[in-house]
Every structure is written in C-alpha cells, then in structure tokens.
Symmetry: C2
Subunit: 354 residues, 2 copies
C-alpha cells in the first residue's frame, strides 16, 4: 500500500493535531460538476455509473482535480443493499429512487436475504479497489452506507416519502416486524462496510438521513441501536491504522450525547445545530464534522468566507473538527463557489491550529 500523503482528515477524526482543518463535501462528486454530467451520460443511467468501477472511479476523482479536498468518498448509491436483497431498485424520472418490491409484511421481511457483500456487491468493492489505487495515497478514501432505519424507510415506503406513513404504521402497529427488518439490515451493513474497509476504505460514514423524523425513544430503539451494533461490528484497525466511523443523523442535533455514546469517532452535524455548543456537549468524546448550510454557496465569495469564519470561530481552537457542508452540495451549486468554500476552510483555519 502507498503511504498516505495527506492524513489531515483521519487525524481530525481521531482528534489529533492538524495544520489546517480538513474539508470535504457530501455529494462532492455529482451533478453540479459538468465533467460529472459528461461521465454520467457516457455511462447511461445512474445505476450503470455506480456499477462501472472505472467510471465510478473517474467521478470520485473529479472534484479532487478542481478542489483542494482532504478526502475522497466512494461514488455509489445508499440503496445498494436493498437492491442486492432483490427489491429491484430503479430511478423514476423526477421521483427519485423506487423499489419494484417494497417490504410490507412479516413474510416479506422473513424472505429477505442478508447479502454476501463480497459476492453480491462485488461491483462496489471493485470500485473501492479501483479508486484506492487511483488515489495513490493522495487523500484517504471514505466508504459509506445508509443506516438501517434510513434504508428501511425506502424499502417499506417503496421509495422517497414526505411523511413516512407506511413505515410509521409498521413502527407503531407491528414493531417486531420492523425490528426483524432492521436486524437484517444491520447485519448487512456490517458486512458491507467491512468489505469496503478490506477493499481499501480508510474511514466509513453511516448516513442516517431520516433518523430525525423519530421521537427520541424511537430514534434510540429503531435507528441508533442498530447504528451502535454496526459500530461494534466494524473492523476498526486495518493496514496499521484506525478506521474511524462517522455517524450522520440529519436533524439529529438534539441527540449528540446519545450518538457519542455509540463508540463512533465522529458525529456529522447538519447546519441547524450550532457547532460551538455541540462541541461543548460532546467534543471531549468525539470529533465533529460539518456544518455549513449548502445553500450558503448561493451567496457571494464574501458571504461564503464569512460563514466559514463563523463556523471556525464557533468550533474554536484545538482538535477534532472536519469541515463539511451540513448536507449534500446542491445540484445547481456553482463549482467556483465550492472552490471558494474549500480554500476558505484551509486559509481561515490555520490560526486555530497554530
């Protein structure tokens, strides 16, 4: 394995000293980049792009050519696991992801296989290996998965949802069926992320996009509990390094103490949570990742720099901050503004690490 030339990201996740605050952007390989759109049109549809290791590698590296990013993230979809379970993932124009076979009954859950990630999701592992090779130690590679709860919302609703009515009916009406589904998903995610780590992922992030629609006790019972199982089941040392784990629950700012108690290394913050108070609450236990409103990229360079400065001031001096947006970059973001953002983080953060 090539030595890592830039390990700021991994060091910050472990709350070790760095020269400047590392930064990456959720969804940094994506539609806001014309070169991404070009590669995607070569691939055909989105899933074909995910399943082609060379092209997935190409789009993963594209933002690194433009911006001074401190990490790359595997280009893939969060719904690869349910697809491998046989639900028939497809993307309807303007509707987002859909499943041909939603999961609704006890029998549906009982019939679901736990995928063997090395075999059934080999295209993801091929992509990880290809990207890792192409990176040549430039920056670390992040692997990822959706959380069991978040995957379950799509599987039970049959796609995206505004009110999560179907899965909430299951949660309140047949909680044991939902737990059986979440158990299978937790096992699947553990294997999936461990295979990504073996294939070369140097950190992993669990995206709990929809944990924030639950009450606190239901978040603990139906989302966090399963993320904790995953954290405890992951390979934590690989290639002589710690493999840090980031948990990101959107709208989860009220639950940081609970998240910190799972054994994860870092909590992702959306932009609704102030990073200063967040650090005061859990900064002695975990690192924090975030958290500029992606919409701030719609502002001027001066506005973006001011917002970066505000967040750096909020976190303050010392270790344990990975800068990021609080959610994926918007598809109509101006790449020039993304560059202003990334450069501002490095430039303005130096005094905080002096």
């Amino acid at each position: 394995m090539t030595a890592l030339k830039n390990d700021r990201f991994l060091r910050a996740l472990l709350r070790q000293p760095v020269d400047v605050t590392p930064v990456w952007m959720m969804r940094q390989a994506g539609r806001y980049l014309p070169e991404y759109r070009a590669t995607r049109s070569k691939a055909g549809d989105f899933l074909s792009l995910c399943k082609n290791a060379e092209l997935a590698c190409e789009v993963t590296l594209q933002p690194l050519e433009r911006f001074d990013l401190d990490a790359a993230i595997l280009f893939s979809d969060i719904l690869t696991i349910p697809d491998a379970m046989g639900l028939g993932l497809y993307f309807a124009e303007g509707e987002g992801p859909c499943f041909k076979k939603p999961v609704r009954t006890e029998k549906d859950v009982a019939d679901l296989p736990v995928p063997d990630a090395a075999r059934d999701l080999d295209y993801v592992m091929n992509a990880v290996r290809t990207i890792r090779g192409a990176l040549g130690g430039r920056v670390p590679l992040i692997g990822f998965s959706g959380s069991p709860w978040t995957l379950a919302t799509y599987m039970v609703e049959g796609g995206s949802s505004k009110d999560f009515r179907t899965i909430k009916k299951m949660l309140f009406g047949q909680p044991e069926v939902l737990h059986a589904l979440l158990d299978k998903l937790a096992l699947s995610v553990i294997d999936y992320l461990n295979q990504q780590i073996k294939a070369g992922a140097q950190a992993v992030q669990i995206f709990d996009t929809w944990g924030g629609v639950l009450s606190t006790p239901n978040y603990q019972a139906f989302s966090l509990q399963y993320m904790e199982k995953i954290v405890k089941g992951l390979i934590r040392e690989h290639e002589g390094r710690t493999v840090p784990v980031i948990l990101f629950t959107k709208n989860g700012g009220q639950w940081l103490e609970l998240i910190a108690a799972t054994g994860c290394d870092c909590a992702g913050l959306d932009w609704m949570t102030e990073i200063g108070p967040a650090r005061a609450r859990v900064g002695d236990k975990i690192a924090l990742q975030g958290n500029m409103d992606p919409s701030a990229l719609y502002g001027s360079a001066a506005t973006i720099r001011a917002e970066v400065q505000r967040i750096l001031n909020g976190f303050g001096k010392g270790n344990g901050h990975v800068f990021n947006l609080g959610h994926g970059i918007a598809l109509d973001a101006d790449p020039a503004h993304a560059k202003v953002f990334v450069d501002a983080v490095h430039e303005l953060s130096a005094p905080f690490h002096a």
Copy 2:
C-alpha cells in the same frame, strides 16, 4: 360575551393550575373526519370552504362533537395573507398550495400591499365571529397565522418545496430583499391576528412550519426576529382576559431558549424534542404544547395510552402543559384512535394535577 365554561386551555397557557391537562389536536378539523369530507364536498373546493363562514364554523365544531377537546381552532388556511396580497392562491391536485404570481425580485416585494385585514380578510373575521358565537363559551377559540418566514417560503418558491432553493438563494444572495418581504409580512400578521382577536379569538398560534430549515443565526434573523415583532405588536388583553400567544417552530427544539425570550406564552413542540428536558430548559418562563408523534395514532389503543403516559411522565407534575400532537393529525388517522388519545390525556393526567 358568554362566560367561558372550560378555560383549562387558557389557564395552562398561562401556567395556572388546572384539574387535568387540556388537549387539542393540530388540524383537528380535517379530512380524517367523514363529516368534514361531507361539508367540504358541499362547499366545493378548500378555499371556498375557508371563505364560507357558516361552513367554516361547521367544520370547526365537528371534532368537538366527537372528542372532549379543550379548544377549538379557526378553520382557515395559512396562506390567506399572501392571497390577500394578490398572489393568486390555488390548490393544484396532489401538489398542495401554489401561487400564480410568486415573489422573486426587489420590485415584486416593493409592489406587495400590506392587506387591511378587517377589509381584505373579512371572510376570516366573519368566520371567527360565527364560530365564537356558535361555541357559546364551551371552549376557547384559537386564531392563527403562518409566520412571516413560513409564508415567505411559499410566496418565493411559488408553492411547497423540498429544498427551499429559491428562497435560500434570496436569503444568501439578496438578504435585504428578503428582509423587506418579511417586514411587510410581520406588519400584515400583526394586523391579521389583532383583527382575529377583536373578532373573538381568545388565544393565537403562529405556525412556523419551515423555520427548522435554517441555521441558528438565520433562524434568529429571518424567522424568530419577525415572530418577536408580532408578539410585541399583538393585543394581549381582550374582554378582560390575557390573550396567550403560542409560537410553534417545527424542528425548532434546539431554539427553545430563544423562543422563550420573545415574550410568547407558550412554545409548541414537535415530537422529536423530549418534553421533560424542554421543560427543564424553559418551563419557568413559558408553557409547552405538545408533543405526541401523530403517527402514534396508527398504533393500538394500548400503544396510544402508553405514549400519552410517557409524555405526561416526561412533563411531570405542575402547571404549563397543553397536550397536543407534535404536528397535524394525519388524513388517514382513525377518528376512534383520536378519541382514545383525547380521553387518555384527561384520564391519565389527573394525578399530575392532584
């Protein structure tokens, strides 16, 4: 004016002793009730129902016939003010509210009139007077408005939105234009709510449905600041009683201290915030309203009662709790389960007031 036979709701909002915890449900007059659907089909479309005082009164009273509720709420739409400003509100099938003339530019904002609520929104005041008369002092009547920020999201986006891209572009790119719009809306809401109070509303609630998509400083600058202006501009004593003000920011649980500092009497809580810790934070300053997940009504009677008990235990003994759902009741909720909920609040809360 007839004397008020049940003032539990008003007393709880002012943190005065009550015999049992008062309860009402957001969107309690609505599509989950077959008698509502019958009245609505008489009226034609939704806006015609809002504009017909007799029918609006009829649907307002319907849930009181079924359930032992401690308050009635004016049946109306949150977008009456932008409609009165001339934006042309209409409801597209399956899409929710839309405006024919969205507000996008400095000139659009400058051209907007501040409606004279007594004249331009007389149909709302007629409805308030009619309902108040029909209630005959049975329970208090709640008036309401959308918050300036929430109204602005619909006006600028032109309808509902998933990512609030257009108004966020205005916020980060032309904040002064957005402030001018919010200023006009705050003036409009003050007049609108004061006219409702004069017409007979005995408490008012401001629905800030979308404040929770903002960062903390932007929530303060673009939503809370304007709600505070409204609170300070409202008639607070009428008919010899205090007129309490409830602020409800969905996903605003992290900002309760800020909300409590506006001078409002009560904060509405969604179900993601635990009411016990919320009370510990602000319960010496304001009352709290909420906060069962509306989806809990999908569960069994036993599940619903357990959830009510859990929330009552969370708040604990003493004054200042109005029970409610954490959001509007779902259109496919079972009315029999709503009855279980309302009855459970009264039955199970008595020991907390002994």
